[in-house]
Symmetry: C2
Amino acid sequence: MIVMDRDQGRKPRKSAARGSYAVGDERRARILDVAVEHFAQWGFHASSLARIAKDVGITQGGLLHHFRSKEDLLVSVLRHSDEQDVARFFSLEPRTAVEAFESIVDLARFNSERPGRTRMFNVLAAEAGELGHPAHDYFVRRYRAVVGQIAGTLRAAVERGELGPDTDCERVASEIAAVMDGLQLQWSLAPATYDMPGRLHGYLDRLLRSLTADGSGLPANG
Amino acid sequence: MIVMDRDQGRKPRKSAARGSYAVGDERRARILDVAVEHFAQWGFHASSLARIAKDVGITQGGLLHHFRSKEDLLVSVLRHSDEQDVARFFSLEPRTAVEAFESIVDLARFNSERPGRTRMFNVLAAEAGELGHPAHDYFVRRYRAVVGQIAGTLRAAVERGELGPDTDCERVASEIAAVMDGLQLQWSLAPATYDMPGRLHGYLDRLLRSLTADGSGLPANG
DNA sequence: GTCTATAGCCGGATAGAC
DNA sequence: GTCTATCCGGCTATAGAC
């Protein structure tokens, strides 16, 4: 979802002769997709390599050819998810606070269209509170990165005079992340009846009004 | 945490002769306390009756004398937790919006003093998004009750003229619940460095200002 | 790259002794 | 009320055939 540890990427294939690697990568990508759904349903501890493999259409042994352990699969899934979102949402810097807030609503809307991945992050972030959880450090760093990135955007807006000079950017950024997570949690329990991006828009609109001198909010269709 | 299904309580003991039942209830209560910590660390699926029993100081067989199954233990833990909170926070109706918001901050402060229970609700609420999870219906109902209760309090404040007449009480109530959950999630990842009730106070203060005509907020020490 | 087979351990639940 | 013993199955990971 946010830029993190970009240098730890999987080592690149040495060659692409005869296209054989592309096939392997497709299988690998399919495993990651299936694993997302399982981690969403079961969390990490209660997910099972055998069940994941069965859903992919291979055996557990076959799966472990691609990922050397369950933990390796988890971190690969998390890194893969982040890479997708970086490409989708953080390739360019927002030029105004309104633009920044609109792209946050965009992200929430995108998240509502991939419930598996969204639920996976809900479950794993909660599980990972435990020290020693395989994704604990990952999520600690992730929230630092997310909050830091939003806070940086807010600070830039303060400097441009769009937001009040007394804005506590770190706190507001952390609050925005909290609202996103909390809305996603309620949405996960009843997705059909809960307009998650709409709720987030409402919150950000009110937030923006209270942070600007003239009380202007967020346009209706972010 | 909130009034729910009060009629489903465990059937009362038939007698209290010679005080033997009190001893049994103490053991039962101890199991519930330990189970909270385990569900917090592992969620439901990955918790183990044998490990819980070991922490209590009995065997798995002994535990299953008190709770006939793992699922029975889960629902007992959830009901027990709600009963505690009802007694603690919802025995009397708040008389003003400020009082209501202050009691929500109180609840957050109390939650920060019992990290196990708080984390348990984080993890289980996320897990329970899955249809068929043993606590799915429980959490769906729970959020309905929580949001409904807060919304009712807000509506009363609107009628007293404390909040603007255009306040969307349901949406605001749902947002408050979301902020509480989201803040708890971040706090769980780094409890020592995160002033969770303080953050919530800051949010509710700004929220109150934007909902009142005169822009008055929340006193400093809710 | 995927399979089968297997090791070694842990899971929930039941039965029955004390 | 707690124990031991046991059933049956699932778990991760490894080894080696193809």
